[in-house]
Each structure stands twice: as C-alpha cells, then as structure tokens.
Amino acid sequence: MSMRTALLIGVTVALLCGCVRKEILDDINIESAVGFDEAGKEKIRGTIVIPVYKRGETANKTLTTVSSTAKDVLEELQYKTSEPLVSGSIEIALYGKQLAKQGIFPFIDQFRRDASIGTRLYLAVVDGTAKHLLEGNYGRQGNGIYLSNLLKQNIERRDLPKTNLHLFLKTYYADGKDPFLPYIRRVGEDVQVIGVVLFRGDRVVDTIGQSDMFYFKIVADGYSEGTHTVRLNNKKYVSIKNISTKRTISFSGPKTRPHIHVHIALEGIVREYKHGPFTSAVRRSVEKTFEQQIRSQTEALLRRFQEKQIDPIGFGDLAASRYRQFRHRDFYKHYSQLPIRITADVTIRDTGIIE
C-alpha cells in the first residue's frame, strides 16, 4: 500500500468521523454588548444586547436576568434564547456605578479566561444602571457598535485616555499603576462620555469630570489631539487645537521619596479667536495663560490622586524603570507626600489659513 493511499484512507476516515461543533453564523445569537448591575444583596443583574440585523438597519434585542455570579448570568440567559448565545464578538462591557464601587474584577475575570473574547473589548462604567443604558436604541448599526465607536472616537480624537480590556488588565495587575475606565451616561436617546472613573484595585474610588479629562489625558497618555478652549484674563476666549503633546516625567532624589517632575510641552494651532487680529502679543499671552492653566489644573489633579492614594498615571512603574532594586511598597508608603513639580511649555503655531 503506497503512502498516498494510506493518507487518502486515513483522511477519509477522519472526514467521516470528524466535525467539531459548529457555530454557523446565522444559527447563533451573537452578543454585542453586556452590562452588569447590582441587584440587591449578593445578586447581579446581567443585561446583554443581541443585534437583530435587518436590511439597512439593525435593531437591538436586550435580555436581562438576575443571578448570583457573573458566570451564571450568561448561562441563565441561554434559557431565554432560541439559538445559542456566543460571546466572541462582544464590543463593550458596561458596569453600573454601584457595582463598580464594590469591585468589577469577577466580571472581568470571566472575559480573561474565555479565549474567544477579544482583547480590544471596551469597558466602561455607567452613571446609573447598565441595563437602562443598554435598553436604548442608538445609531443604525446597533448598540454594541455604536457604543464602541463612541469610545473609539473619543479616544482617538478627543480627550478620553486609551483604554480597553487589555490595558485595564495590564494596569490592574501592575504594581505601580491603577486602572481607570470611561464614565458614560444615557441622555435621552443618546449616550455621552461624562468623564473617567478611577479605580483602586477593581473598585471605583474617584471620578474625573469632563473639564479635567484634557489634562488627565495629557499626563496619562502623554498625548492628546483634542481641542481646548482657553479663557484669557480679559474674558476673551480662544480655542486651541492640540497638534502635538509631549509629556516627560523625571525623578530625582532617593528612590523611596523621589521628587517627581512632570514637564508638558504642547504645540497647538488656533481654531477660533474672534476678538480682533491674532497678533504675536496676543499669542504670547495665550501661551502664558495656557501654560498657567495646565500647571494649576494638572497640579490639582495629581494632588487629588495623592490624597486618594491612587496612581492612574503610573508614577510607581515609571519610577521602577528609573531606580534599581525599586520597591513599590516603599514608594507608595510616602506617595501622598511626594513633591510633584509641574512645568508646561506651550507653543502656538501660525494661525491657519486666514490672516
């Protein structure tokens, strides 16, 4: 018997016996978003969104159940669907604020263990309940895609710092950095990003409002592409678009109590200025005011982090890369008293197409 015949026979046998369990695309219910809320003592309410595709438009079907563990939620929902629920295409996972205060790791852990779940999955905390938010109807492509596009757009073009499942886990496990997530709210038939929630471990401890997100993103991500309005002291407003931001953090002094120096170099162009010609004198005053604002706002922000004993910027990890034999525990013992100096350097480039 030649090898070829053997191969042929063997493969045929495998073909005949074979087949692994199929998940045929149109015979499954593909979850696109999930949400978890607190539901009384030791109970959790889980909500999932299944897109219902029609020609030209996508409707949403939401299913809700109350259970005691995160895993049970999805298992129990299987009873409510005619076709198997699969979670490989989840775009976003939402957590109610109340739940997030008690810790969301058990709900993220199941994503971590499931190989079919992507790592670019967005996580967000909802002001109110996730159920309420997911029950709305947003956009033409279904809630899952709408919400993930909303966050994506805000991360790439606006002031939301980079986040996703991978980054959350990375910072959650890191010794010298604490996680943060976007904070969103349902406003009528729209969803709005209203800030960033800060975690200690997996519990929410603080919230940053919209106005501070710009400064937070600069310090946390080291870049931002958003537009920011500067209020000059003569009550004039100038709108500035960021084109390049560079953030450097340096440490000096002993490794248990280092002096931290944050330097922000920002380059921008004027978007809007309607109070006469934009002369170089005006430009200089805008630069000065903006620098001043960055300094004070960032300082307030960082002081707040120190008071709350959280480190979303990752000073601990950065220090660990500067000092040999660095011990995170020693560093955080004195974290709240560490002196942080902030300097800013703003350059406004020429003003665009109109003289």
Binding site: M3, R4, A6, L7, G10, V11, V13, A14, C17, G18, V20, R21, G88, S89, R112, A115, G118, T119, R120, H166, L167, L169, K170, T171, Y172, Y173, A174, D175, K177, D317, L318, S321, R322, Y323, R324, Q325
Partner: protein, 362 residues
C-alpha cells in the same frame, strides 16, 4: 564518510532553513512567561545568552562531526564499543521519537483551548501523523522542502507584531540588569530549551552537499532565531505588565488578539491555523532523525522504523492527553535535550579529543 548519494543531498544553505524551522516551534507561543518568571524584565538578556551558548555548542557539534566523518552514531560506537555506543544512540532515538509526540500534543491542546474545545485528539493526530508519514516517506529532500516552505510561508506573521507596538511601554524594560546574574543565567538555562533543534544537524549532516560549508549557515540560523526570540521577548515584556504576563499561558497568542486588520477582526485564529505549518517540520524531522538512527543501528529499512515510531507516537497522543502529563513529557524532553547538548556534547568532545591524542585518530 557515511556515503549518501548526491541526488539525495541538499545544498549547504538549506541548513539555515532546516535548523531554523526546527528551532522555532510550539515553544514560541509560551516561552516568555517562563523566562520572565525568573529574570523579570531582564529576560531578553537571557535569550541573548542562550543564543550565544547555542553558538558555542554548535561549534563543538561541527568539530565532532568532522572528527567522526559526519556519522555521529558511528562515533558513539567507535568511542564506546558496539554495545554501549548502541545504547547511547538508542537514547537519541527515544529523544527524537518523543519530540513529535510532545509537539503535537501541545499543539492539539492549544487548538482545543483556543479554537475547538471538542476536537477529538485521535482524529487530528491520526490525520497529521499520516501526513507526516507521507512527507517522511519522500525522504530527506521532501522533509527539507517542508522545512523550507513551513518557514517561508508563515514568516509573514512577524509583521503582525507591528500592531503590538501601539500598546507597548518600552520603559518597562528599564533598568537593564536589575536582576541578579544568577537569575538571568537561570532564565538563560530555561531559554535553551526553546532554542533546541539545532542538534538535528548531527544526523542530517551527511545529507548536506559539502557538509563543512553548512557551518556558517547553521550559525546564521541560530543567530536569526536568537534575534527573533529576543525581539519577541522585548515586545512581550513591553506589552504585558509583569504580573499580567505571569497569568498568560500563551502570551504570543494573547498578543495576536490586539492585531486589528480591516478584514480580520481577530488574528489569533489565523495564527493558530498557521502554526500547523510551524510545527510540521518539528514533527517530520523528529520522525526522520529517529528512524534514520534506527536504520543505522539495527540495519532495518527506514520505512519500517518510521511506521513503528509513528504508530507509537500516535498511541502516545491518545493515552497521554492530560494537561499535567503533557507538561511532564515536555519537561522530560527539555531536560533530556539540555543534558544532551550542554553536558553530553562537551563531554563527548573532551573524550574525542583525548582519544585522538592517544590513538592518533578516532
């Protein structure tokens, strides 16, 4: 010189592809965690050290091959007599026969965890072993052809790591040499296991046209592999935080999850399917080497030896399908490889040197 007809031989530069395809195997999916456990963010130094040590061993191997006129099995017998030498070579048969089984079992495990939880082991291993028999029955040239294509075709996967850069914090690699030299060395020892594969040159050497010239290609292969592993380690260390990495069994697969292409949402599935090509040379060359030594030892037909070894391997994958057992087999194989290369080869070189001094020839 063990005479091999010229039409069966391959060009010296094919050594590059054989060794590289043999070195890069199932280990790439998960070696980072193990070395980072001991050497932390300095693990990439260990990779370089392991690579350097591989070069040294490779030099010894080539020196030994020249003393032995290219026939390693014969060298054993000349040095230790027919029986002891035979037993030593028999251990090598065992070593190369375990390799296909371990590689395939690990791969099937990956597939079962990531793609098809209910993939039946016997089905897939039957089909794959039949394919490997089909390949190895074609002789060394076909096996080398598989090594060549299975290295060239999946090489595009390297570019996917470009996407990882977006999420990489390279400051995590600093400060360099933050771990004790002993930790770095220990990680280097663990890393040598992933670098295994170049020892096959001991057996396919007679099949290389103008064997000696292949040395530079063998070194080039080890160097390329080392650089590849170093790069991958650096990326992994920058992508994960240290504690996070400790919780990943297959960091490379996790890194693929972040790849985003307009037409493919999730890349790890493509990666796993492609990995079949990567492990194929491992299995085939393992089978070929073990059957080749059998042929030399017992003067039986290589086809016969292949059939027997493959059948045993197949049944092994059926019986040993528990995670812990596979890990155990992996450890044994790696230990054996380590002792063979880093203890036995230098010892053998020493003995050969002494014998040569005393007897005048080996």
């Amino acid at each position: 010189m063990a005479s091999v007809a010229e039409r069966l031989q391959v060009s010296p530069f094919m050594t590059f592809f054989i060794i590289m395809s043999m070195q890069i195997g199932i280990g790439v999916l998960g070696f980072q965690r193990i070395i980072a456990e001991t050497a932390g963010h300095d693990a990439w130094i260990s990779v370089l050290l392991a690579g350097a040590s591989s070069h040294l061993i490779l030099i010894l191997i080539y020196w030994l091959l020249q003393q032995a006129d290219g026939d390693f099995v014969l060298l054993h017998q000349r040095l230790f007599g027919r029986w002891v030498g035979g037993v030593l070579s028999l251990l090598l048969v065992l070593y190369f026969a375990i390799m296909p089984f371990v590689v395939l079992s690990t791969y099937i495990e990956v597939v079962q965890v990531w793609m098809f939880p209910d993939l039946k082991t016997w089905e897939f291993s039957l089909a794959l072993f039949l394919l490997c028999l089909y390949i190895t029955f074609g002789g060394f040239r076909i096996v080398v052809g598989i090594c060549f294509f299975c290295l060239i075709i999946p090489s595009y996967l390297v570019f996917t790591f470009w996407f990882v850069l977006d999420y990489s914090d390279f400051y995590q690699l600093l400060p360099i040499f933050d771990h004790s030299p002993s930790a770095i060395l220990k990680a280097a020892k663990q890393m040598t296991l992933t670098m295994l594969g170049y020892e096959t040159v001991l057996f396919f050497y007679p099949f290389i046209k103008g064997g000696k010239q292949s040395a530079k290609w063998a070194h080039a292969a080890v160097l390329t592999t080392t650089l590849f592993y170093t790069l991958l380690t650096i990326l992994t260390l920058a992508y994960f935080s240290e504690n996070q990495l400790q919780r990943q069994i297959w960091p490379t697969l996790m890194m693929w999850k972040v790849v985003e292409l307009p037409f493919i949402e999730r890349f790890e599935y493509i990666g796993i399917a492609n990995w079949l090509l990567i492990i194929l040379p491992n299995i085939c060359l393992g089978l070929w080497c073990s059957s080749r030594i059998c042929k030399q030892l017992f003067s039986i037909r290589q086809k016969m030896a292949l059939l027997v070894i493959t059948t045993i391997c197949f049944f092994c994958t059926l019986w040993i399908d528990d995670r812990a057992e596979i890990d155990f087999a992996n450890t044994i194989l790696n230990r054996a490889g380590f002792y063979f290369l880093y203890i036995w080869i230098p010892c053998l070189a020493g003995i050969t040197y002494i014998v040569k001094k005393v007897r005048g020839n080996v």
